[in-house]
Structure formats: structure tokens, C-alpha cells
């Protein structure tokens, strides 16, 4: 068990910067997930911790030791790989004991530890099988057993569930949480699946284009995203964005207006371009708006496509008169569209004209130019108390 500290870690390949100046500190026993779209540098960042990649600049600390130039085998880390990477020419016992045998443990100790590890991942009685005789989930367990058998300081998992089918993935997700509770080891987990990130982590590190966007507990990332990228990446379906402009009495977007005292928006003045963001579940029909403490003024809309999901229902709303649903654009970023999530028994039909309101306490404001978050929640018209600013959220 140990803390992991990255200091200005940068990895450049010939003309690509895979990881750009990432600094973070991971506490002892913490479960941190690196999440981001493909190619955002999350795997490369993890490889610098594992020692498989040496950073171009910056330093990696495990515990109090600077391990930047240390070989992977000397770092006290264990890793589970996306493609599982069991050695096909060894049976389960040999796979799990590989690291122990290399470290010249005596046979009894190896036997004891392997059995204990196999017990934790529920692989009893399979130690003499070959990897190709096992199912995907079993192989994954072997890979995890191989990692935990050495009592590593840090446990690295590079999309370990990506190659499993959906049902098994959900199952293994709870297994991994149980494992984390039992082992109490520092775990760094890489995934592009935000559901895995949200459910398992103590903190999420959102990466994009090699840069760290935000590192915070899952709900903080969800409720107070640091910037537009995090807001759009965390949450499914994605947050609605409407680009607009700060005016005298609020925010003016192409199709609607939200009242606001511009003086409450830090660092912005009237006339600056801002982006308003609101999650689908914070868009309500006016008829059902009595539950919303501070609704905005009603917005005229027409329902376009309705997607019943069973537990909820997604309604694509068209805001402008005569607007067509754009096929090219993601609905979340189109100015003329709004995605609403309602309960499945809501009486609504396709093509119906409806009025919707937004929950003011859940509206996010971003600076259009930089994408940085300005405000989370605009709760008061007069502006005496207008939600939390990102600086407050961080403290």
C-alpha cells in the first residue's frame, strides 16, 4: 500500500503528445479511475506508473520513492491488462505463481499464497487448467489473482472488463469493489466506460487529449463539472448545451432566455459568450414543474422523437419553429434541440407542442471560449446567492 504521486508527467512520441503535464496525488488505499475517450492518454499515464513507459518529462513517486527510472519489476506494482494477458503456455497455478517463482519464494509459501489468492477470486479447483480451457470471466479472475498474489503496493487495471460481455461486466464490477474493500490497496483503474468509473471509484480523473480535466469524487464530477468537456463526458445521455451571450438581465441563447444577474458570473461582463448546460433530467414539462423549486420561464418546444427506456423516457425537443432534427449534430450540442428525460408514464406524443422549464439550481454556465465552468446552479434572481462557483467547489 502506498500513495502514488505524479508530478508534471509528460509523454511525447515523435510528434504526438500523449500525456501533457499531468500532476495528481493518489492517497493510500484509494480507488482512482482514469476515464476519457479513446486516445486521451489514460493508458499511457497508467503505463508511466507501471514503468512500461518512461515519461519524457516529470516524475512518478510511489510511496516516498521516486520510481521514474525504475524497472516495472522493482516498483511493487501489479497490473491487470485489457487483453487479460495470461501466459498461454502455463496453467493457472503457474500463471498465478509466476511473479512469486521469479522472486524465489519457497514452494510452501507459493502454494499457500496461490491458494489464498485463488480463494479470494473464487477459482478453487481450477489451478491445473490451461487458460484456453476457461471462459472470459474465469481468465479475468486468474489475471486478478496473479496481480493480488504478490501483495502489490499499487494495483493497476487497464480496462480489465472491456473484453467481457455486458452481464459479466456488471458482475465483475461488484467483485472488484468487494476486492478493493478486502485488500484495501491503492487501485488505479483505466476505463472509457463512465458507468464503471461512477460506480467503483473514490475519485475520478477525467482526461482528454492528454490533459487532466478534473479529478474529483464521482458525484462532484457529475454535479460540478470543472469544464464543458467533463460536463459532456460524464453522464448518459449527455448534458444539453446551448451557446449564448450574457445580456443585461440574464443569458440569451438562440431560442430561450434565462434570468440572471450578470454580476454574479465571475470574470464575465455583459456581452461575453457563455454556454448554458443542463442535464436531460433537469428539463421538466411545465405541467409537472411544481416539484421544481426555481423553474425558469417556460420554453416553447415541440417533441420530436420519443425513446422509452423502461425506467425513464427520453424526449427529443425541437425549440425553433420549423426546425428539423439534425442528423449530423449531436442533439446535446445543437442550439435548436433539447433532450429531456421524464418518467415513462408521462402523457406525451411525438409532434406535440409542449412547454418546458429548466431547474435553475441545476443549470451550469461555461465560458464558451475556454469551456471553463463559471457557475453551477443559478438559484437566485437577485444574485445574492447564486449557486456555487467552481472556486468554492474546489475548496
Amino acid at each position: 500500500m502506498a500513495r502514488v504521486r505524479l508530478e508534471h508527467v509528460t509523454k511525447r512520441y515523435e510528434d504526438v503528445t500523449a500525456v501533457d503535464d499531468i500532476s495528481m496525488e493518489i492517497e493510500d488505499g484509494e480507488f482512482v479511475t482514469f476515464v476519457g475517450p479513446s486516445g486521451c492518454g489514460k493508458s499511457t499515464t497508467m503505463e508511466t506508473v507501471a514503468g512500461l513507459t518512461r515519461p519524457t518529462e516529470g516524475e512518478v513517486y510511489i510511496g516516498d520513492d521516486n520510481v521514474t527510472t525504475l524497472a516495472p519489476k522493482d516498483r511493487g506494482v501489479a497490473m491487470v491488462f485489457q487483453n487479460i494477458a495470461l501466459f498461454p503456455h502455463m496453467d493457472v497455478f503457474e500463471n498465478i505463481s509466476f511473479g512469486l517463482r521469479l522472486r524465489k519464494y519457497d514452494d510452501e509459501e507459493i502454494q499457500r499464497r496461490v491458494e489464498q489468492a485463488a480463494d479470494i477470486v473464487q477459482l478453487e479447483g481450477m489451478l491445473d487448467r490451461m487458460p484456453d480451457e476457461m471462459s472470459g470471466g474465469q481468465r479475468q479472475r486468474v489475471a486478478i489473482a496473479r496481480a493480488i498474489v504478490r501483495n502489490p503496493d499499487v494495483f493497476l487495471m487497464d480496462e480489465p472488463l472491456a473484453n467481457l460481455d455486458a452481464k459479466l461486466r456488471v458482475h465483475m464490477r461488484t467483485e472488484l469493489q468487494r476486492l478493493h474493500r478486502e485488500l484495501d490497496t491503492t487501485i488505479i483503474y483505466v476505463t472509457h466506460d463512465q458507468a464503471e468509473a461512477m460506480t467503483m471509484s473514490d475519485r475520478i480523473a477525467v482526461l482528454n487529449a492528454g490533459e487532466l480535466q478534473q479529478i474529483a469524487p464521482p458525484l462532484t464530477c457529475y454535479n460540478e463539472p470543472a469544464n464543458r468537456f467533463v460536463a459532456g463526458f460524464i453522464g448518459s445521455p449527455s448534458m444539453n448545451f446551448a451557446e449564448g451571450e450574457l445580456v443585461e438581465d440574464g443569458v440569451r441563447t438562440k431560442n430561450f432566455h434565462v434570468d440572471l444577474d450578470p454580476g454574479n458570473v465571475p470574470g464575465m461582463t455583459v456581452g461575453d459568450a457563455v454556454t448554458l448546460g443542463v442535464r436531460p433530467e433537469d428539463v421538466h414539462l411545465t405541467t409537472a414543474a411544481d416539484t421544481v423549486a426555481q423553474p425558469t420561464d417556460p420554453i416553447d418546444a415541440r417533441s420530436d422523437v420519443i425513446e422509452p427506456m423502461g425506467d425513464e423516457m427520453f424526449v427529443y425537443l425541437l425549440l425553433a419553429e420549423g426546425a428539423e432534427r439534425s442528423m449530423e449534430e449531436d442533439p446535446s450540442s445543437s442550439a435548436d434541440q433539447l433532450l429531456m428525460s421524464v418518467t415513462p408514464d408521462t402523457p406525451i406524443e411525438e409532434g406535440q407542442n409542449v412547454d418546458v422549464v429548466l431547474d435553475r439550481s441545476k443549470i451550469h454556465l461555461f465560458e464558451t471560449a475556454t469551456g471553463q465552468a463559471l457557475l453551477h446552479g443559478i438559484t437566485n434572481l437577485s444574485g445574492r446567492d447564486s449557486g456555487t462557483t467552481p472556486t468554492e467547489a474546489d475548496s
Binding site: 507501471a50 512500461l52 519489476k73 487479460i84 503456455h89
Partner: protein, 363 residues
């Protein structure tokens, strides 16, 4: 020609008379253009009246052809037969060309001395004692031992260095990789004779460092004189084979081994090489056989004495004296010399097959 026309006309006649209502004539399943072809090239026996009579019963028009055309028609409708027969033809041809020399060698070996003039398929007499005499006339087992040591040493050297090179070429990125690989391959195209004179000169030069090992400090008359140049000559091929195999092992496996506690080199020997067993076996067998069979350096780098590491080749040539050539002993010793290689290939072949089936990497 006349017959053809005639029979064709007869054929028409047959069809014409085929009017008794059954479905023979017009539904024999033959397309119109085939009928035309049949009329033009029907070069079989002339269809006389009596045959025509039979045809009206069966209307199996194919019966009207010669055996060759019959075979062609069958082949078109059932091509597997042709492929099978071609396979057997080719197999028999290859078996004959590869095995007949051995058979004939055996016949020569079994023929007693002095009767070797006109051996064709059977030996002139029966003298299995030649296989023992081989070891009495010369210490042939010593030559075999020398060859075996030289071939084994070369194979190990080639596999170890070739593995390191194969790892570098197959799994690492470094500047100048492709030109370097090409250079290695180009060197393998050099005629070995081009190296001989400088090498012979070098190996006959005394080196102070070698004196404790070789006595006079030269490599001439030592296994090194064959192992070094032969390893170098057969190395590029091994590097090429191993590069291809090592490049195919997924990166994840090597990374896993390194995180688990090996160095890069450890991962190569514990994970990559075992998983590339077919490639390593192939490179090893090819090198062993090539060195074991090599003539040029084997002939020139020793003085031909078994105690001076002369290989098997010198042993076989040793039965050729100034006044007589003991062909039966040369033949017998050749057969004996082949046996170790044959065993090696059979063993390695099993390894190759098991390696191919066991190493199913689903990644």
C-alpha cells in the same frame, strides 16, 4: 472426319426417332450448346445401328464417346477425382525422387566390394557387414561426433544471438531498423567462398589469447573454425524467421511478464521464446541441417584428421584412397550419417506441430 459427320447425323437421327413420349430425349439435362459440341467433336467410335438402338433405350449419349472423352466429361462433373489423382501423382513423384536415392544408396552399401559395376534395382550380393566395416576402416563415429558438436554449437549460437536480434527487430522501435534488417539479409546473399580466403588467413594467425585453449593460438583445426563462419552465414535466415515469430506475440504478454518481475531479457526467454516454439524449432532445425551438411568450410578448415575436429564429410571422403574407392563404405557411412538428422527432424516436427496447436493465442 466423315465418320464424325456420319455419327453426328446418326445422333440426330436417334433424337429424331425418340418420339415415344418418354422424357429421354429432351430432358437429359444437357444444355443446347453442349449438344452442339457433342455433335461436332464426337470423336469416339462411330455409332452404328445397333448402338443407336441401345441409345434409344438409354439415351445415355455419353456412352457414345471414347474413353478419354468419357474421362474428361467425368472430370468436369466430378472435379474432386482429378484433384485426388493429381495429389497422388505429385505425392508419388516427390516420394520417388526423395526416397529413391536412399534406396539406391542402400543397394550400393549392401553390394560386396568389387561388384558395383551394374547395380540397377537390387544389390549384387548381400553384405550388411559394410555397416560395421565403416567403423573399422576409419573412426567414423569420431567424425560423426565432431559434426554433431559443430552443428549443435552453431545451432545454439545462432538461436541465442538470433533471438536477441529477432527481439530487437521484431518488438522494438529504433531508428535505422529497416536498413539494418536489409543489411543483415544482404550479407546472407554473399557467396560463402568470398569470405574464405580472409577467414582462412585469420584462422591461421596466432592469437596470444587463444593459446591456452588451442595450443598454437590459431583456430585452424578447431571447431571454432567451422562454428564461427557457419553460424554467421546461417544467422540472417534465423534472424528473419525469429523476427517474424517474435513480432506476433502480443505486447500485453511481455508487459505482463515485466510487471510480474522479469526484465526484458527475462520476458524474452520465459514468455516470448516458449510461445514462439514453432519458429525457434524451425530456425534451429534449418541451421542444424545446414551446418551438418555444409561442405565448403567443413572441407577446408581442418586437415581431415578426426582428432582435429574434421566433420563427417571428411570421414566419407576418407574411404576414397589413392588406388581404390570403397563405394560400398561411402554409401553405408552416408546412410549412417543421415540418421541423426532424420531423428532430429522427426522429433522437431512433433514439437512444431504441438507448438502450433497448443499456442492458440486468442488476442
Amino acid at each position: 472426319m466423315f465418320d464424325d459427320n456420319d455419327s453426328a447425323r446418326e445422333d440426330d437421327g436417334v433424337r429424331g426417332t425418340d418420339g415415344d413420349g418418354d422424357d429421354n430425349g429432351d430432358s437429359d439435362g444437357v444444355p443446347e450448346h453442349w449438344k452442339r459440341t457433342r455433335e461436332m467433336t464426337d470423336g469416339g467410335q462411330p455409332a452404328d445401328e445397333s448402338r443407336s438402338g441401345i441409345l434409344t433405350e438409354d439415351t445415355e449419349a455419353e456412352l457414345d464417346r471414347g474413353p478419354f472423352q468419357q474421362w474428361v466429361a467425368d472430370s468436369i462433373s466430378n472435379p474432386e477425382r482429378v484433384y485426388r489423382s493429381m495429389f497422388y501423382t505429385a505425392t508419388i513423384f516427390f516420394l520417388f525422387t526423395t526416397l529413391f536415392p536412399f534406396y539406391w544408396l542402400l543397394m550400393v552399401a549392401l553390394t560386396p566390394e568389387g561388384q558395383q559395376q551394374d547395380i540397377i534395382l537390387t544389390p549384387n550380393g548381400f553384405n550388411p557387414g559394410a555397416f560395421i566395416e565403416v567403423f573399422q576402416v576409419l573412426p567414423f563415429h569420431w567424425y560423426m561426433f565432431n559434426s554433431f558438436v559443430i552443428a549443435t554449437a552453431s545451432t545454439i549460437l545462432v538461436l541465442v544471438i538470433g533471438s536477441l536480434a529477432g527481439y530487437a527487430f521484431g518488438r522494438l522501435e529504433f531508428p535505422g531498423k529497416t536498413p539494418l534488417m536489409l543489411l543483415v539479409l544482404i550479407i546472407s546473399f554473399f557467396p560463402p567462398a568470398a569470405f574464405f580466403i580472409p577467414l582462412n588467413d585469420l584462422f591461421n594467425t596466432s592469437f596470444f589469447l587463444l593459446e591456452p585453449i588451442t595450443g598454437d593460438g590459431t583456430l585452424y583445426n578447431t571447431p571454432g573454425a567451422m562454428v564461427l563462419p557457419l553460424s554467421a552465414i546461417f544467422m540472417p535466415l534465423a534472424i528473419f524467421i525469429l523476427t517474424t515469430f517474435y513480432a506476433q506475440i502480443p505486447d500485453g504478454l511481455e508487459d505482463a511478464a515485466r510487471v510480474e518481475g522479469t526484465t526484458r531479457l527475462g520476458a524474452l526467454f520465459r514468455v516470448i521464446i516458449p510461445l514462439s516454439a514453432p519458429g525457434v524449432a524451425t530456425a534451429g532445425v534449418l541451421t542444424f541441417i545446414a551446418v551438418y551438411n555444409e561442405f565448403f568450410f567443413s572441407f577446408l578448415m581442418t586437415d581431415g584428421q578426426p582428432e582435429n575436429w574434421a566433420p563427417i564429410l571428411e570421414g566419407i571422403l576418407g574411404y576414397q584412397g589413392q588406388y581404390e574407392v570403397m563405394y560400398h563404405l561411402m554409401a553405408a557411412s552416408s546412410i549412417i550419417g543421415v540418421i541423426p538428422v532424420a531423428i532430429l527432424v522427426i522429433v522437431a516436427q512433433e514439437k512444431i506441430v504441438s507448438g502450433l496447436t497448443a499456442g492458440a493465442l486468442k488476442e
